[in-house]
Every structure is written in C-alpha cells, then in structure tokens.
Amino acid sequence: MLFLQLFISGLQTGAIYALTAAGFALIFGATRVFHVAHGATFALAGYAYLACTDAGLPWPAGALAALVLAVAFGLAMDAFIYRPIQRHEGSFFTVFVAAFGMSIVVQSVIELVFGRGFVTVSSALTMARQVAPGIYLADIFWVAAGVAIALFVLVTLFLERTRAGIGLRALSENPELLRAYGLSSRRLSAMAFGLGSALAVPGAILTTMTSGLQPAISHQVMLISLAAAVVGGIGSLRGAALAGLLLGVVENLVIGVLDTQWSAAAGFVVLFAFILFKPSGLFGQAVTR
Amino acid sequence: MSAPLLSVRGLDKKFGGLAAVQQVDMDLHPGVLTALVGPNGAGKTTLFNLITGNIPADSGEVLLDGASIRGRSPHHIARLGVARSFQDLRLFARMTVRENVLAAIEHTAWLWQPGGRSARRAREAAVEQALERTGLTAQANARAMDLAYAERKFLSVARILATGSRIWLLDEPASGLDLHSRARFVSLVRQAAAEGVTICLIEHNLDIVTELADRIAFLDRGAKLAEGDPQDILRDPELIGIYFGERRT
C-alpha cells in the first residue's frame, strides 16, 4: 500500500515536473539555448501567485499575474541576455553562465522581498481523503493530472496543426533551418520562450499549494528540468515530459526504500547514469561525443 | 607502378538511410597528387573522415603501407603520418599562430615532451620553417581568430606542413582564396609534392585541379564513378555534366 501511495504522490510531482521540463525542452529544441533560468521563471510565477493571493485577489487574478510575469521574464531573457550574447560568438557556456547569473539575481531578489523561509498558499484542494484503505488522495492530484494532460494535448496540437507550431518543430528537428528561416526565426524564438515559460506556470501555482516555495526553488526546478530534458533526449518534448514524470515517480518511490534525504539524489543518479550509458536519452537522436 | 602508400578498399558508410560513401576503392601512391572531385554532398569529406578514423566505417578496409588501420583512433592514425585539414579549418582559435603550429607537432600526451632541448629546438625550427613557407611569419604572435580569411587557410596548411607527415589529406584548402593567394597556395602544394609528400586534395576549382593533379578520382552520391588521368576525366562529358549539373542546384 505504501508503494501505491508513494506512486500516486510520484505521479502528482511528476505531472508538475513534466510540464516544467516540457517548457525547457521546447525552448532548447527550438532555439538551442540551454535556458537554465527556466527555474527562475518557475519561482517568479509561484511568488507572483502567492503575492496576489496574500493581497486577497481571487485565484484567476493570481494565475494571470503569474502567467504574465513568467512570459515577460522568458521574453526578456531572450531579448536582453541571449540575443546580445549570440550576436557576438557566444559559446554555450557563455550563455549558461549568463543564464545562471540571472537566476541567482532572481533568487536574491525573491529572498530580499519574501524572506528565506518556506511560504505556502493554503487551499481546500490539498485536503487529503482516504479513497481506499491506506491510500490518501487530495483533489489537487486530479487538478495536477488534468492540467498536465490538457496542456500537453494542447501543446501537441499546436505544434502539429498550426503553422507557427510546425515552424517551431521544424526548428527543433533541424537547427540548420534556424538560419534558413531568416527573418521569422526571431519571432519563432520569442514564441518558444513565451510558450515554454508559460508551461512552467501551472506547476509553480500547484507547488505553492502543495510543498510550498522558498527562494532556492529556482535551482531545484532548474536541475529537475535539465535532468528531465537530458534523460528524455535533449530537444524532445515528449521525452522531457515522460522523463519528468519518471523522475517524480522515482523520487517518491525511493522514499519507500531509503530515507527521504535520498529522494532528491535519486533523480540525479538517473541523470548521471543516462549521460554515461545512453546520452541520447529516451527519445533523442544519437549524440556524437 | 609502385605499391600504394594508402589504399581504401570497399569502404561503406551510411548515415541513417543515406549512403554517404559506398564501395569506394582508392589508392594513394607515393608522391602522387590525387584530386578528389565531385559535387557537394558527394561524400568526399566523409571519405576523409573514414580514412582518418573520425567516423567508423560500416565495412571495408583502410590500409597504410599494406597494414590495416581501420578502427584505429584518429590520433593514432595521425601519428602514423597521415595529416589532414578540415573544410571548416578548425584552427585553435584562441591560440596564437605559432602555438597552433607548435601544438600540431607535439604528440606525447603526458605532462611534457620527450627528447629534451635538442628535440625542442628541432620542433621550433620546424614551426618557423612552416610559418616562413606559408608566409605567416609576420603574424606569428597573432591569435588565429584574429587572422584574415586567407591567412587562416594558410595556417591550416602550416599546421600540416610542420608535422612532416607523409600523407596529406586536404579538404577544400583553396576555396574562397583570391587569385594571388591561390597562386601562392598552388606553389606551396607543388613544392610539397616535389618533396615526395603524397597528397589527396578535395577541390572544386578545376583550374587548380588541372594545375596540380597527377590523378583524379571522381565521386558522386557516395560512389566513385571514375579514376584516372586528369585529361581523361576532365574530357568525359558525362562526368562534367554531373559535376556542373549538380553544382548549379
């Protein structure tokens, strides 16, 4: 029973990871930018929602504020950090360092405004009920699962059915096209950042209600997104989402065998093993050394 | 004809479904300059990569002095005296011109080089000579990334020249050179050939090919269509048709 319970919480964590990691993978796939400030996007969205709720605003207002802030931050990173770097040479590490620097900036600002401690938004959704002997489930599980599935279907439809989506996909499957696209590559890249950042918002809001936020969450989310993207196969949306789900489940199942302290490390053991033995990930194309 | 120095037998390489190189045989004879021509995407660069071990072949053999070198790592093959250039040059961008050439001839992977002072003198002399012959002496202390286009191309040749390798595989070393630099390049290669270096040259410009080549191998869609005397190949209307037909697209 314990394992079933852990599996269920794993799915809930995994749904959040999957969405966030899908956003990271979408951005990387289309723009080849290793957007490690994606965790900062997540943190900003979470704290924006929290601030609105604390101010007494209804939840849709909070969600909207979170969405606007997340998308604005993603677009700003693209326009003011990545583009200027890419304009002159700009190795991947230059981009990585700048993005990491910005996520440190965001983390410190959050710390200055909201303090270092954990903060949560209490919600009726998180009240757990016994649904079977020894199995507890809160409504938020269904919200997380529903939102994750719905958004994933929507994003897939968008990528497969709309012209812009097909453009994005073409970029992710063949980076050479980025150049061939010429003028519109800029708009497509902005779209990837906007959409990818938006995908971090639901997870951020759900997290404020479940495990809560702290400034360091941006690092944690960054690491999870990155791990999921690599395990899933860099650039593959489907792979990242599946790997995010997998990491969430693994993290929780580990608790059944080892101490809780090992749960965060478990995901990184998976990451490390994949890089050593199957660097192409679940769905990626083979990488050459 | 003497025994070939390097020969390729039935070499095959597929990228996914694309047959980049199929059943290619080629011989490089000592002191002979072979031009490897063919339209873009014919598999010329891939053939070099297979010979130097950068890419593993699916099947076939690469023989150096009659012994198989297939499956050896690139650095190993380089130490056997096979030097190559890259179409995109791959200079050591943040190092100086002199360091580029010096780094190219230092082989031992441990913390320092064997042979002591006399070996170091010899290496330094080889570097200066290579810089001299490629006309880069004045730029010796400039970083590779700060060089002009033609200078970069000459630096890629200088690195090879200094190694004293027996076999040079040159991947479009003259593309994009102005007339003056091109003439300098031709005489540089001619001098190396006269000194007995065995050269395989990928080149699109048929004037340069006619000027330099002792033999021509013609590659199209991964397969070698012909090999022989320059006059014969360049007079074959079918080959010329493929060559120019493809190039226009």
Binding site: A98, V105, S108, F272, L276, V287 | N54, P74, T108, W112
Partner: protein, 292 residues
C-alpha cells in the same frame, strides 16, 4: 582588525587555490565543471580525518586530501570523456547533487550534517603552524607552488595540448593528441589541487560540514574564474579578490541590514556574471575577442 584581515587573506588564498585549479578545467581544457566544490569537500573531509585519526600534519593532510580527490575525480573524468557541452554540465550538476547527499548521509566519514568537529591545530613537520599569520604563510606557500606548477605546465606542451582540445577537439585528435589521456590527466590534476585546498580549509576552520561544499559553492568558484578571466594565471585570483572583498565591503555600508548582505551579494555577483557574459565574455583579466 588585523585578525579580520588575516582571516580574509587566508580565505582568499584557499579560494585562490580552488579558482586556479578550476581554471585548469574550465579555462584551459574547456571542461565546464560545476562540481568543483565536491572535490574541495573530499579534500577537506580527508584532510580532517587524517588530522583527527593520525597526525595533524599539514603536508600529510594535503597529500591525503589531494589523493582522495584525485581518486574520485574519475567520477568527473568519465562523463568528460563521453559527452560535451550541455551534457557534461548536466552530468557535473548531477554529480554535485549526488555528492551533497552522500556528504550529509555518510555519517561515519563526514559526520553528516553536523560535520567533523574538533580538528586539531595544524603542525608542519613537527612545528606548530596554528598561529594565524603562520598558517597564512603556509597557505600562501602552497598557493605559490601551485601557481608556479600551473604556469610551467600551461606554457609547455601540456597546456598547448589542452587548449588545442578546448578550441577544437577533432583537430587536436587529427594532430595526434590523445584526447582521453589528456582530459583524464587534467581532471585528475584539477580535482587533486581542489582537494589540497580542502585540506587547508579544514585546518583553518577546525570544523567542516556539507554547507561549504554545495552547488552554491561550486557556482561561487566558477564565478570567480569567469569574472576574473579564464585561461590566464591572474584572472582567477582577481575574481577571488573581487568576490571575497564584495561581502566585506558591503558589510561596511550602513544602509544594508546585516541579514540581507548575503542576498545583496548574490544579487551583485549574479548580475556581474550576466553582464560580463554580454559585454566582456573573456572576463576582467582576460583578452577580449579581437575584432574582425
């Protein structure tokens, strides 16, 4: 006041060792490790254990710290040989996260979260070197030796080979460089030196715990190298001074409450990292890219 300055100088020296050794990986070999604090930690734990169980000899502890870090650096060398770029950064992040968990859980070796307490006062070949000024001298001597060694190696063929691999791995191979051997060598060397720094650190603090070996610490060391300037001898040292003097300077500003200094410091160095990458990617002491 002198005690304060001596403290700052000792820390700067130890971080100088860390930054200089990471520069071997990042600056010369193009191996972008974000797990340097792991090897710093391994050296610190090993040094502390040697001091507590055997003799508190600085030389012995440094050797032990370096050896343990060198041995376990294969955890970094393995991914370095197999993958590049983003994949390697991800692998080193994974290593860093795993190591922090192991450090806080392996109570027998590391003392867990509580850390190792009561590290005895350092001696050197039987002489007491625990006085602040004397210990600083010892640290400075170690740093000087390390810098000298790095300078000699990087000006020689080893350094040229590493830089060649950094600039173009395939071209380096085509000119006879044994890339696997060279990369393994530089990873072992860089990590061993970080271990030496760790051993000195454990003596100086007389106490070590996992807090000093987290991802944040790795990032701080990386920031020092990058802000100072990679692939130069002086760059990492400049970075160390800037980033260590920054909190000291901030603490003199009356309008920042002491509890906020940490966050303000983070804000400044995060922003400095981002801005430098945009405007001067080679760092403060580095050569900027030429115009063409």
């Amino acid at each position: 006041m002198t005690a304060y300055l001596l403290n700052l100088a000792t820390l700067a020296t130890i971080f100088g060792i860390l930054a200089a050794s990471l520069n071997l990986l990042i600056g010369y070999a193009g191996i972008f490790s974000v797990a340097h604090a792991v090897f710093f930690g391994l050296g610190a734990y090993a040094g502390a254990q040697v001091a507590m169980l055997l003799v508190p000899d600085v030389l012995l502890a440094c050797l032990a710290g370096g050896a343990v870090a060198a041995l376990l650096s294969l955890g970094l060398a393995l991914p370095a040989l197999r993958v590049r770029g983003e994949y390697f950064v991800a692998a080193s992040l994974g290593l860093q996260m795993m190591a922090v968990t192991v450090f806080s859980e392996a109570h027998a070796l590391t003392g867990g979260h509580g850390g190792l307490v009561g590290i005895p006062l350092p001696t050197l070949l039987g002489f007491d070197v625990s006085a602040q000024g004397v210990f600083l001298t010892v640290c400075l001597a170690v740093l000087a030796l390390i810098l000298l060694a790095i300078r000699m190696l990087m000006r020689g063929s080893f350094g040229r080979s590493l830089m060649a691999i950094r600039d173009s791995e395939s071209a380096a191979e085509a000119f006879g460089k044994d890339v696997r051997q060279l990369k393994t060598l530089v990873v072992v060397l860089g990590c061993a030196l970080a271990g030496v720094g760790g051993a000195l650190f454990s003596f100086y603090m007389m106490f070590v715990n996992v807090e000093s070996f987290t991802l944040e610490q790795s990032i701080l060391i990386m920031a020092m190298v990058i802000i100072g300037g990679t692939a130069t001898l002086a760059g990492p040292l400049v970075g160390v001074l800037l980033l260590l003097l920054l909190p000291a300077a901030l603490s003199f500003l009356p309008f920042i409450p002491p509890t906020q200094i940490g966050a303000v410091q983070q804000f400044i160095y995060g922003l400095a990292m981002a801005l430098l990458m945009i405007f001067r990617p080679a760092g403060i002491a580095g050569q900027s890219a030429g115009r063409r």
